[in-house]
Symmetry: C2
Subunit: 320 residues, 2 copies
């Protein structure tokens, strides 16, 4: 198959767009499309200071690459989780991220959880009731908290993440099968700023996972190929498998599911708890970040419980 | 496994309810549950004259049986579609329905489409553009039209159908994956009456298909086992397969999907076309039934087109 724009051999065929492109035209197409998504959804401008959350995986590195190529002022934030998983997952992710930043002369903020909280994520999770089986809960809430805090404290205008269509459609399917209206209400490619919470945007929300992967490959971007060792069996993967089946039966099913939701959302209104939560945000008495829970925010409360439990166990002479 | 209510051997185990029952207690349980659904959703009372749409399949016959056992005044409506499909589908369905009515001394209205319109459904469908591949479109719209007209003209208070949870969840999944807000807005176990449209209710909306099938079996109700020969490959079957996978992975997934939607719907509002359609209902200039399309309703317009096309073909000497 030939590239639609020149005589070169096509390297990728995006059936849902009926579009085949050669390497060079594909490496042009991704930034152009991204620019269109940014513009159409009022995500940010070249005046804005942007912080991209970088995990070392393909989506976040490709996003950082594309945004810098488009001329945006964009720094990276790497959060050290201390996950080993037998393959030195966090250490390797960090090495890859730092090497990308150095190679492209980009500024990277690194934030190591163990340095700040005294414990890494797996150890902390093993000290919580739910976390013993799966540390994703404390990991997710910690990342969300830290991303916002670093963005606010360093005066960034927007926090961007590399979530792609596969990610967004899987979350949407989970929220939909359980009709979680408070989450449906807040799901979308842009979350506007509100008291103490930085504006958030997902410029890749319309790209299939294979499209960002192909870009990484063709651009020669080294990225962390392994999934997080704790991701196995996660709900989001279950929904991804389901959506892949739908997509296999009908090309473009994922995109049409997500885009039809965004259109429908314009015509729907939700009287869910979401509204009340928004009205009731107040500063956490410990860290000062906005929270809807009394006194401490979920981050401070969870880590306090972890440290208390650790204290008790050390007193009892039990090593966790 | 033993029946939860006595020492007899259980014949059915409903895992989502953690409930196993023997034959007699199961045959009591279904009507009791149905009564609860009718009451909780304000479907109808023993004062109301009820018309049940009966196809000869298990759900509609079981519904007729259960409603009469519960003491409701309920007559049947059988619509003759003239589908043969190699196994005499319509003729056999009609025989089964009439024999059920006779055996239980129940009143049955039969309405034969060919008698009223001059053509059966497969022939009519073959004369429409979309219908040549699948006659489901003209069949569905004809049934909806006739059910309402017969109910209104004969002063019934409510029209009931045997749709079960599997049916309802499949429709919901289709409406949701495409975010068809106008349909989502109107989906539910009860549709209230409005100008010229009879009230509609689905008393079996919380029963799994296997539960109505088990009732039919244990009660010795003869029903049409074959699916309609045209149903194969229908979208609704595709969504049923998908939901069966979800159910296999998580017991009760279908029920929770549907019930969480009904709860969510209470908190959502839709600004979709649905509202406008409702406001713009006016009588069809031919049959007088309410319609939102100009002049003729979809039923009258479609059948007029079918007859016109038939006329033209006969003039041209082509047999359809």
């Amino acid at each position: 198959m030939k590239c639609r724009k020149c005589d070169e051999k096509a390297v990728i065929h995006m059936r849902q767009h009926k579009l085949a492109l050669c390497k060079n035209h594909y490496l042009d197409w991704i930034p152009k499309q991204t620019q269109r998504f940014i513009h159409d959804n009022n995500m940010f401008s070249t005046e804005d200071r942007i912080l991209v959350a970088v995990s070392g995986g393909k989506d976040s590195l490709v996003l950082w690459d594309v945004l810098s190529r488009l001329g945006y002022q964009v720094d990276g934030l790497y959060i050290g989780l201390g996950i080993d998983g037998g393959n030195g997952y966090s250490a390797e992710s960090r090495r890859i991220t730092e090497s990308f930043a150095a190679e492209h002369k980009l500024d990277l903020i690194t934030y190591d959880i163990e340095e700040h909280e005294g414990l890494d994520i797996p150890t902390a999770a093993s000290l919580t009731r739910r976390g013993r089986e799966r540390p994703c809960s404390i990991c997710g809430l910690s990342k969300r908290h830290i991303m916002n805090r670093v963005a606010i404290e360093n005066d960034y205008d927007v926090l961007v993440t590399g979530h792609n269509l596969d990610d967004e459609a899987a979350v949407l399917l989970g929220n939909t099968l359980n009709w979680l209206t408070a989450y449906l209400q807040r799901q979308g490619p842009v979350l506007p700023t509100r008291s103490g919470l930085v504006k958030k945007a997902k410029p890749f929300f319309r790209f299939y996972e294979r499209e960002t992967a192909a870009y990484a490959l063709l651009r020669g971007i080294e990225y962390m190929y392994d999934e997080c060792p704790h991701a196995d069996g996660a709900k989001s993967i279950y929904y991804k498998v389901l959506l892949n089946r739908l997509e296999a039966d009908r090309r473009g099913a994922k995109l049409s599911f997500y885009l039809s939701f965004l259109r429908a959302k314009e015509t729907m209104s939700f009287n869910s708890e979401g509204d009340d939560v928004e009205r009731m945000l107040h500063p956490c008495t410990s860290c000062g970040q906005p929270t809807s829970t009394p006194d401490l925010c979920t981050y401070c409360r969870t880590w306090k419980e972890v440290r208390d439990r650790r204290e008790t166990m050390l007193e009892q002479g039990i090593e966790s």
